[in-house]
Symmetry: C2
Subunit: 146 residues, 2 copies
DNA sequence: ACAAAAATGCAAATCGTTTGCAAGTTAAGC
DNA sequence: GCTTAACTTGCAAACGATTTGCATTTTTGT
């Protein structure tokens, strides 16, 4: 999704390109990691934008495919801009909380196996990883479910 | 985790094997799919157990590795018993909500790639799939982020 | 059986997120 | 540019899942 296209993309879905929307989109595209609604809200600099508006816009952007919602087992969800159809997963350090992107993904390889095993057609998936980042090694952490 | 071992496992962690705990564990081991705290609560038949107690026990069981917490993009989390070190993922039908297990998992194959790419050591991951189950084909659904 | 530790019920509190509504902003056509 | 309909926003209240304080009850280890 090129930055230029956002206005058209919104228009196609009968959505307006509002100041809040533009600012939120800009913040997301500039961030190296997915952000929580609250983090986004705190980064808004211009005119006052209500947190409820941030939530409403994140949902709107998600609904039309501009934004991805990510669950890293925190108390809240995170959001990131979907750029150029990229397929991204994340790995979060269980010690320091650092979040990085993981571009390698083998899940599509599972599609056939899943199709055979369950008869489901795979449409989408969430894959989030947890581990220990280089600077936190060799800490130990408690086991977690998968 | 053999059913027999639960008492010992709890004892090792200074936890008691209470009636509520035993009942919740039984319900989880008998379920074919992960259950929400509320579903578990409603399935409790014996003496009255408060919903808060269900939450406290699920957390306790999760903390000592007997239970796995699962996020299927619903408003709540689901929980399932971890039996015999099984490694399980899930696929939920985007049309009817049916949930099935997916035993095939290729994520471990990603470990090396992730290690190289980010320097993280992979400790754990969440992989939940969404698609269309056999009886709901060939419905169409809106796209979702990954 | 006892004392100490752990768990429970109940009610209130949290906290992320959503919603109703009146007022403000944006889009589309003229 | 102006006008109206459609879409958004701020604000406050509502929500729903989950958590917590505390007095009481149950379980544990001896």
């Amino acid at each position: 999704m090129a930055a230029m296209d956002i206005a058209n993309h919104l228009r196609r879905h009968k959505k307006s390109l509002t100041r809040a929307r533009a600012e939120i989109w800009h913040i997301l595209t500039q961030s190296e990691k997915p952000l929580s609604p609250d983090e986004i809200h705190r980064r808004l600099t211009g005119h006052k934008v209500d947190l409820a508006t941030v939530y409403r816009n994140l949902r709107a952007l998600k609904d039309i495919g501009l934004v991805r919602e990510i669950d890293l087992r925190e108390a809240f969800k995170r959001y990131e801009a979907i750029l150029a159809g990229q397929h991204v997963h994340h790995i979060m350090c269980q010690v320091c909380g650092r979040i990085e992107k993981v571009r390698h993904c083998v899940v599509q390889d599972m599609a056939n196996a899943i199709q055979k095993e369950s008869g489901f057609t795979l449409k989408d998936h969430s894959l989030e990883c947890f581990g220990i980042c280089p600077s936190c090694q060799p800490h130990k952490t408690k086991a977690q479910g998968t």
